[in-house]
């Protein structure tokens, strides 16, 4: 065994597998009880209505059965996780005030550069609280609110109270209930009427403590005619034990508003990621999910659009990559409740080294939603004989004027394509990468430049051991 292999066998080949020794200020310890839920709310100094909401959600969570679809989740021992850790006392307003340890971690990911380049604002979640948050002049002048959700509960209670849990109620599913009970951090964005943000808003998330669950709660409200592109990046260090992650993202888009939400989820390969992401689109509103799933051991994520207003549009472009030991169960949901609404789903899946990747999606045109159009395209590349992929679409049309088109392909990398690229001098590995990168191009081209570059690097790393 070479040195390199030895190191790899110990830490794995996860690129962001470093860990910093950030000081823990407060923790609820392992396990989940009603007292833990109350303690989280107390530590945060929350208003009573939020505490009550958490308690209701906790009761829902413990009484709710496991989902009856997708991967088996019965192995999860909920008492084996810590539900709240706070690593720095206050939310830092300036980069200079951020503790060195934490800064070090962020430097490795390159947040300051990203911010300097073109991002309008940064709200970074480290452990369970946001420690660094800055919004530039432009945002403030336009009346845009952008902060972590904890701060929003304190600073803008009326807005949070009005929208929190409206798009994803705690009764929606077991993990939405879990999130609502113990949520911490996440991003809050409010775009006032008619405000169009040209530059994307960005946030990085990171789990940094063994056995710590992360339960961000994001809430985005886009008022009439307003427009925003939000970019969320996830990376996490390596742990020896499983780590649980159940996020909820709620997006409320009013008439003719626009929201795009881009993510590349790259949790380390021991994380269980159970996410509920949903947008409600009113009249003429448009939602676009750009959703990348590369990391985590087990991932269940189906970004949804509820097209509730006439003429609303929903798009979801996603990729899922499953390597050794990974189970990606991902897809999209488009629920058409109003007439003349349209939706598009493009899903690209790749599996190798025994990984499992499924597309699971639902498209529904309700009885009164006339003249709706949906197109679904699911493509899969299976890189070897030991990996698996299933396409599990549910398409429902309940009237005579709406139409759903569904197209699906499953293929291997063709020998002829490999020969063609290699005959120009490109090595086999690079040629395979090139074909895979081409395969996910419909996704990559939707990303901001630096994310596309990072995606390229991630896919290269993932592909490295794909070739025997």
């Amino acid at each position: 065994m070479s040195n390199h292999d030895e190191v790899k066998s110990i830490i794995g080949d996860y690129k962001y597998g470093f860990k910093t020794n950030a000081a823990t200020v407060a923790s609820t310890g392992k396990g989940l009880t009603l007292d833990v839920v109350k303690e989280i709310s107390r530590l945060k100094g929350e208003p009573d209505w939020m505490l009550e909401y958490r308690i209701k959600a906790y009761n829902e969570f413990i009484s709710r059965p496991l989902p009856n679809f997708g991967p088996d989740l019965s192995f999860i021992d909920y008492d084996d996780y810590t539900y709240y850790i706070k690593s720095s006392k206050d939310v830092a307003s300036k980069w200079e005030d951020v503790p060195e340890e934490i800064k070090d971690t962020f430097d490795k990911i390159g947040i300051p550069e990203a911010e300097r380049k073109f991002l309008a604002g940064v709200s970074t979640q480290f452990e369970s609280e946001a420690v660094y948050h800055s919004t530039i002049q432009e945002l403030e002048e336009k009346g845009v609110l952008f902060c972590d959700t904890d701060t929003a509960v304190k600073k803008y209670p009326e807005i949070v109270k009005e929208y929190f849990g409206k798009v994803v109620p705690y009764t929606d599913n077991k993990y939405a209930a879990l999130n609502t009970a113990v949520w911490s951090g996440g991003s809050f964005i409010y775009i006032p009427k008619g405000v169009v943000l040209e530059k994307p808003l960005q946030s990085y998330f990171r789990i940094n403590s063994e056995k710590m669950g992360q339960f961000e709660r994001s809430l985005i409200i886009v008022e009439e005619g307003a427009s925003v592109h939000y970019v969320e990046g996830c990376t996490a260090p390596i742990y020896s034990k499983d780590s649980l992650h159940a996020a909820v993202v709620e997006i409320y888009i009013k008439d003719n508003g626009y929201c795009r939400y881009s993510t590349i989820q790259n949790w380390s390969n021991n994380i269980i990621n159970l996410v509920t992401k949903r947008a409600l689109c009113l009249k003429g509103a448009m939602m676009e999910w750009i959703d990348g799933n590369i990391g985590s051991m087990l991932n269940m994520k189906y970004p949804a659009c509820i097209l509730a207003g006439e003429g609303a549009k929903g798009n979801c472009v996603s990729i899922a990559f499953a390597g050794s030991g990974q189970y990606q169960d991902a897809g999209a949901k488009m629920i058409h409740l109003a007439s003349n609404t349209s939706s598009t789903i493009i899903s690209k899946s790749i599996c190798k080294s025994g990984g499992v990747v499924n597309y699971r999606g639902t498209v529904k045109h309700a009885k009164n939603a006339l003249n709706c159009k949906s197109s679904i395209q699911c493509d899969t590349i299976i890189l070897d004989d030991i990996s698996r992929s299933d396409t599990i679409p549910t398409n429902i049309v309940q009237n005579n004027t709406s139409r759903i088109e569904h197209e699906a392909t499953v293929s291997k990398i063709s020998e002829d394509q490999l020969f063609y690229l290699m005959s120009r001098g490109i090595k086999k590995n690079d040629a395979m990468q090139m074909i895979v990168m081409g395969f996910i191009e419909p996704f990559a081209k939707e990303l901001p430049m630096e994310y596309a570059v990072e995606l390229n690097q991630l896919i290269k790393l993932e592909m490295e051991d794909a070739i025997g």
Binding site: Q417, Y420, M422, S423, R424, F439
Partner: protein, 272 residues
């Protein structure tokens, strides 16, 4: 440089009982342009694919040497970097990868570590080559061969050859699918490659491409072997008389693959 093919025997991987090349020998030096002609189904494309290292073909005996080095021991990409180029009969489509990225990556493989293809020079050279071939200027940004017409695909092969500047280019029926104007453009661009560092093997079963390319040697490939070699006069001879006189002279019956009638085989037989 010299490309030597010695007593080459080649079969198809899937059916090794069937020998396609039956002891073919050929030597091409840089500075020379060779044409290989012959009826269909006699092994011309097999020769091209074998030189490049297509895994669908198996060399059962004989050798191919590039300046004395064993080409058959090299992988496909190594052969390319050593200076071999194959313009394919059916270029593959690769979705999501732009022509420009592809060609730049291919050029990059020829540089040593730390060196990079200079971007500005690259774009200039690519634009010039695209213009030389009278191709659509948006070509660099289009995905490799995706949605290309047959003629565009062929021109795209020549474009890659121009950018990669190989020592030996094998052009496998580059003329098929080209109209007369395109044929002329492609022919001229191949001619312009002529230099003391460039040799080529132009494979065709039509004579018309050779109206535009100034070949120095002409070979006739029949029944897996080179059966005649000569100069341009051979082209005229074939043009006038076809191949029948040669078949007679060589005592070959019919070179075309006889169609086998197979009983009891379902029409849904899986083919790769």
């Amino acid at each position: 440089m010299r490309l030597e093919i010695k007593d080459l025997h080649v079969s198809i991987l899937d059916d090794q009982s069937k020998e396609i090349l039956k002891g073919l020998s050929l030597t091409v030096n840089t500075g020379e342009m060779h044409a290989i002609m012959g009826p269909n189904g006699n092994g011309k494309s097999t020769l091209a694919a074998t030189i490049m290292g297509n895994p669908k073909y198996v060399v059962t005996s004989g050798e191919i040497l590039l300046d004395g080095k064993n080409l058959l021991k090299m992988s496909v990409d190594e052969r390319s970097r050593a200076g071999i180029f194959l313009a394919m009969q059916n270029p593959m489509e690769i979705s999501g990868v732009t022509n420009a990225d592809f060609i730049k990556s291919a050029m990059q493989t020829r540089l040593s570590e730390g060196e990079h293809v200079p971007l500005f020079k690259f774009i200039k050279a690519l634009d010039k080559s695209v213009a030389d071939l009278k191709m659509n200027p948006d070509l660099p940004q289009r995905y490799i061969n995706e949605g290309f017409s047959g003629g565009e695909k062929k021109r795209n092969e020549i474009l890659q050859m121009k950018m990669l500047k190989p020592h030996f280019a094998i052009l496998d029926e580059i003329d098929s699918g080209l109209d007369v104007d395109a044929l002329k453009i492609v022919g001229e661009n191949i001619n312009n490659m002529a230099s003391p560092d460039f040799g080529s093997i132009v494979i065709t079963h039509y004579q018309r491409l050779l109206d535009y390319i100034d070949v120095s040697h002409v070979h006739i490939l029949m029944d897996g072997k080179i059966v005649r070699s000569g100069g341009k006069e051979l082209i005229t001879k074939i043009d006038q008389d076809g191949y029948d006189w040669l078949k007679l002279e060589l005592g070959l019956e019919d070179m075309e693959e006889p169609k086998k009638a197979v009983l009891g085989v379902c029409g849904a037989k899986k083919t790769k």
